[in-house]
């Protein structure tokens, strides 16, 4: 008797050096992945490279920026050799300012209610649907969720958005800013994002004798086996590069920490 064939989900190959190996082939298609990290840990660069690799493969990509104006984001990312401004000019990578989106939707207010949240979801989903986006980044979901005052509403927002994007076959990276430096910290700002996400990638620093080494760790990824080891990362001109962190050096000077 032949053994039953093992079912493997199709993957969104990130194209990021080492990451696809850690994920045993890439992110399962249509997943919503939370990329949580402290400031300066490389979240935006990682997410932008994810889009660039998709654009190189001919995929339509979108980046919603809430933390900095798109002009500034593009200026910062242009220093990397892997980025080509033509990808933006030709519409392979579409960058949207969240402030502009709020303005279009008449959402220039300090806090969002249920209707506002639904309007925002509809706008994002419409853009994804119209352009045929298969790779999406929201940078950051933390900044966006600051306007949503209840935990329940944040949960509904992320769950509904993730579900709709998944139905459209869009693989999404939600960037989350964390500040905590202890191992008992949440992997998200509001504590609800991590439960909704299909995957969690944590980025931070290990302090070693006064120097900060960037690391990346895949904590969770539904639909694939994956390494859960801490990996050192380097932001090189050709993109993010990863290597397993030395076991004798992974703890840093004191104890495991997500940030400085």
């Amino acid at each position: 008797m032949q053994p039953a064939a093992v079912y493997t989900r199709d993957r969104c190959i990130t194209g990021i050096h080492g990451l696809d190996e850690i994920l045993r082939g890439g992110i399962p298609y249509g997943s919503t992945v939370l990329a949580s990290g402290t400031c300066g840990s490389g979240k935006t660069t990682l997410a932008m490279e994810f889009l660039v690799r998709g654009a190189i493969a001919g995929e339509a990509c979108a980046h919603f920026t809430a933390t900095e104006p798109s002009v500034k984001l593009l200026e910062n990312i242009r220093q990397f050799e892997f980025f080509d401004m033509n990808m933006v000019d030709t519409g392979l990578i579409n960058v949207f300012d969240m402030d502009v989106l709020y303005s279009w939707l008449g959402l220039e207010k300090s806090s969002f209610d249920l209707d506002d949240v639904h309007a925002l979801i509809k706008a994002i989903v419409d853009i994804v649907n119209t352009i045929g986006v298969t790779r999406l980044v929201i940078d950051s979901v933390t900044t966006l969720c600051y306007k949503i005052k209840s935990e329940q509403l944040i949960r509904d927002f992320l769950f509904t958005l993730g579900k709709k994007l998944s139905t459209l076959g869009c693989t999404t990276i939600l960037i989350s800013e964390i500040t905590s430096a202890t191992e008992n910290a949440h992997w998200s700002s509001f504590g609800v994002e991590e439960a909704i996400a299909d995957g969690i990638v944590v980025m931070g620093d290990v302090e070693r004798m006064g120097h900060l080494l960037r690391f990346l760790q895949v904590v969770k990824m539904r639909g694939t086996s994956h390494s859960r080891a801490k990996h050192a990362i380097e932001l090189t001109p050709i993109g993010v590069m990863l290597t397993p962190m030395l076991k004798w050096g992974a703890q840093g000077d004191t104890k495991s920490r997500w940030g400085a």
Partner: protein, 194 residues
């Protein structure tokens, strides 16, 4: 005139690309042994690659090579020394790259891999100068683990790794591990000065 040790070149003809060569030298002959290893790799085997400069600054090493007539402009240098000196990283040389400190072991590995990905040469080496320089800053167990990773990473990619060390300044644990991991040994370490 500066004289190279020709027996090192002869020994290197036996070495395969996926090899890892431990080169032992003494305090007094370190540069002669380094140059005698690097010159045949560049000139006889037409190799290029990465030189990790942990003992002295990259600029000092480049000038030393140039003084004896060796052009190293196509070799990429990773300097682990100069960032520790304010103003030390000011250079116009495009083949010098800086890592903040010798304790950033993973960064050194990743930077080497990055530089090797940008090279157009088919045959490459990575020279680590030196284990005893790294031993000043790093714990013995971590350094032994690092060398294990380092050697296997480049062996897998068919990049020749050359590990320089002064045996009497290298921790015994690290030295014994090097003996185990490396495929070849060039021993010029027993230099006794009376």
């Amino acid at each position: 005139m500066f004289e190279l040790d020709q027996r090192i070149a002869e020994q290197l003809t036996e070495v395969a690309l996926s090899s890892s060569v431990q080169v032992r030298c003494g305090n007094s002959n370190a540069f002669m042994v380094t140059a005698s290893t690097m010159v045949p790799l560049m000139q006889m085997f037409e190799m290029g690659g990465v030189y990790i400069s942990g003992s002295r600054s990259a600029m000092e090493m480049i000038e030393a090579f140039e003084t004896i007539g060796i052009d190293v402009s196509n070799i990429q240098f990773i300097d682990l020394v100069s960032s520790g000196v304010l103003g030390g990283t000011t250079t116009t040389r495009k083949n010098i790259h800086y890592v903040d400190s010798p304790i950033m072991l993973e960064s050194i590995l990743l930077r080497s891999l990055y530089l090797l990905r940008t090279t157009t040469l088919e045959r490459n080496f990575v020279i680590l100068d030196s284990v005893n320089a790294l031993a000043i800053y790093n714990d013995d167990r971590m350094l032994a683990e690092y060398l294990h990773t380092f050697i296997n990473t480049f062996r897998q990619r068919e990049v020749l790794s050359v590990i320089l060390n002064v045996p009497d300044q290298t921790p015994p644990l690290v030295l014994s591990n090097l003996d185990l991991y490396c495929t070849d040994l060039i021993d010029r370490g027993q230099v006794v000065i009376h």
